[in-house]
């Protein structure tokens, strides 16, 4: 069964017809040619497909495209441009927050979403006092970014990059 939908990808409305089985990730990569989000596990276990959907970080491999008709999707490619990098992108470059780069678009989208969550006061499992304000130390960053795996093990530099922008 095919259904016509519109996804707003990095600011551009994109209309397409999708088989109901298509995930947001496959719609982006296979149908729209938007290859910033990567397919790692395809089962919600690695975070490499992370995008911002309606402003929040989500794994796009477990989201059906038909269920996201009308959604605003920001990929790592849409966060900034080569000449004008997003602050999180710049911090990853400055701190060597990657090696092969495969997990990086997901890490960056996740970090942007996570920093927004922290700014709006979200606690985490390692926050001692759930009702106090957020201080993003290294333990907090590691816990909040645990949904993004890096097979190259660039974690130390990823934590440092994000730490630079922590509120």
């Amino acid at each position: 069964m095919d259904i016509d939908i519109t996804l707003h990808v990095d600011g551009e409305p994109r209309s397409l017809s999708v088989d109901t089985r298509t995930t947001v990730l496959d719609a982006l990569r296979e149908q729209l040619g938007v290859t910033a989000p990567k397919k790692g596990c395809d089962h919600g276990q690695c975070g490499s497909c992370t995008c911002l959907v309606d402003g929040r970080r989500v794994t796009t491999c477990l989201s059906l495209a038909v269920a996201h008709d009308g959604a605003q999707i920001t990929t790592a490619a849409g966060l900034g441009s080569e000449r004008d990098l997003h602050a999180v992108q710049q911090a990853f470059v400055d701190h060597d927050g990657f090696q092969c780069g495969y997990c990086t678009p997901g890490q960056i989208c996740s970090a942007v979403g996570m920093l927004d969550e922290a700014r709006s006061g979200f606690a985490s499992y390692v926050t001692a006092d759930l009702t106090a304000g957020v201080v993003l130390d290294a333990d907090e960053i590691r816990e909040r970014m645990s949904g993004n795996l890096c097979r190259c093990g660039a974690y130390v530099n990823i934590v440092a990059a994000i730490g630079e922008l922590a509120p």
Binding site: H43, T50, L62, S63, V66, E117, F122, L130, M145
Partner: protein, 332 residues
């Protein structure tokens, strides 16, 4: 994945009507469990009725002081709600211990309650599994059973329930509100999930087509002094081997005026530790009493080949949780 039709429900009534009489239809909420199962080939609905926009996504005060959580509230938003953090901290912490930030932004309250076991054989359609294919046998019985049940299992299934959120809700006696073709009903959360017995294919007491609309948290003073402890193979982003939700109320002489305890990772359903609670009420809050309570609950444990460690792990997790909750504030 098998082809399927897709329909978006405008409201809960429409959703229930769409599933009534259609065995092959299923509700879709966040999709983080169902879509995964469809990819694995262990679920193949012919129709998905998307309820993600039809379900209530609000958290409201109940007249007597409790909270009503819409089934469409995302796990991230429930954990972030300041009323939940202040009045039911074990629930906030249980939610925060589950999955990842990305998944918690998708996962809903209703879907979380109805997520299915992470038994590896259940997730692998090439192996026999009574839960997936009734009567085919249980591969875990002579397989790897590290994550499996030590309480309440049967010869037909030894799986555990994976939800963290449900464990905290059980400790607080939450009430699950359900809409079916016949109208509304309320189910105490203790009666929602079931033990496998000889019908392991049924995780819950819900009938086909019943839609969870809300979860009510009762007004409960003791819940304000509660926490959730999760023990797992890695520090984050992993399911529980064992978990404990506990709430305590101490009398002025440091005896337990009241206590609530529920375990995760031990059984086919979140496990309310009534024997441990009974052991503690009226007793002084000492290490010896904590140990005795753990023993009272776990004496009936029947470990499998690979999971005897869960007895010590559950006992230690309970003792550590009670110690944390009963230590004078200054010493914490």
């Amino acid at each position: 994945m098998k082809p399927f039709e897709y329909e978006r429900a405008a409201d809960t009534g429409g959703a229930v009507a769409a599933l009534a009489g259609r065995r092959g239809a299923a509700y879709l909420a966040g999709g983080t469990n169902l879509v995964d199962h469809m990819k694995l080939g262990i679920a193949s609905p012919e129709l998905l009725v998307d309820v993600s926009r039809a379900l209530d996504a609000r958290i409201e005060e109940l007249p007597g002081g409790g909270l009503r959580i819409g089934a469409g509230v995302r796990n991230a938003d429930l954990a972030a709600d300041m009323r939940v953090r202040k009045r039911y901290p074990a629930l906030a912490r249980a939610l925060l211990s589950g999955a990842s930030g990305q998944l918690r932004n998708l996962a809903t309250t209703g879907g979380n309650l109805l997520q299915r076991t992470r038994c590896p054989y259940f997730q692998d359609p090439t192996t026999p599994c009574n839960k997936r294919e009734p009567g085919s046998g249980c591969s875990a019985l002579d397989g790897h059973t590290r994550q499996h049940a030590i309480l309440g299992a049967s010869q037909h299934c030894v799986a555990t329930h994976p939800s963290d959120m449900a464990v905290a809700m059980l400790a607080f006696d939450a009430v699950v509100r359900v809409r079916g073709a016949g109208g509304l009903r309320e189910i105490a959360i203790a009666d929602l999930h079931r033990l496998p017995g000889d019908v392991p294919q049924r995780d819950t007491t819900l009938e086909h087509g019943e839609l969870i609309t809300d979860v009510d948290l009762p007004s409960l003073e003791i819940a304000a002094r509660s926490t959730y402890r999760k023990v797992r193979d890695r520090a984050s982003y992993a399911f529980a081997l064992v978990s404990v939700a506990a709430a305590v109320e101490l009398a002025s002489d440091d005896t337990f005026a009241d206590v609530r305890i529920a375990f995760g990772g031990l059984a086919h359903k979140p496990w309310r530790a009534t024997l441990a609670e009974d052991e503690l009420r009226g007793r002084p809050a000492t290490e010896a009493a904590f140990r005795a309570a753990a023993h009272a609950e776990l004496a009936a444990a029947q470990p499998l080949r690979d999971n005897a460690f869960k007895i010590a792990m559950a006992s230690n997790a309970l003792v550590a949780t009670l110690r944390e909750l009963t230590m004078p504030r200054a010493a914490r």
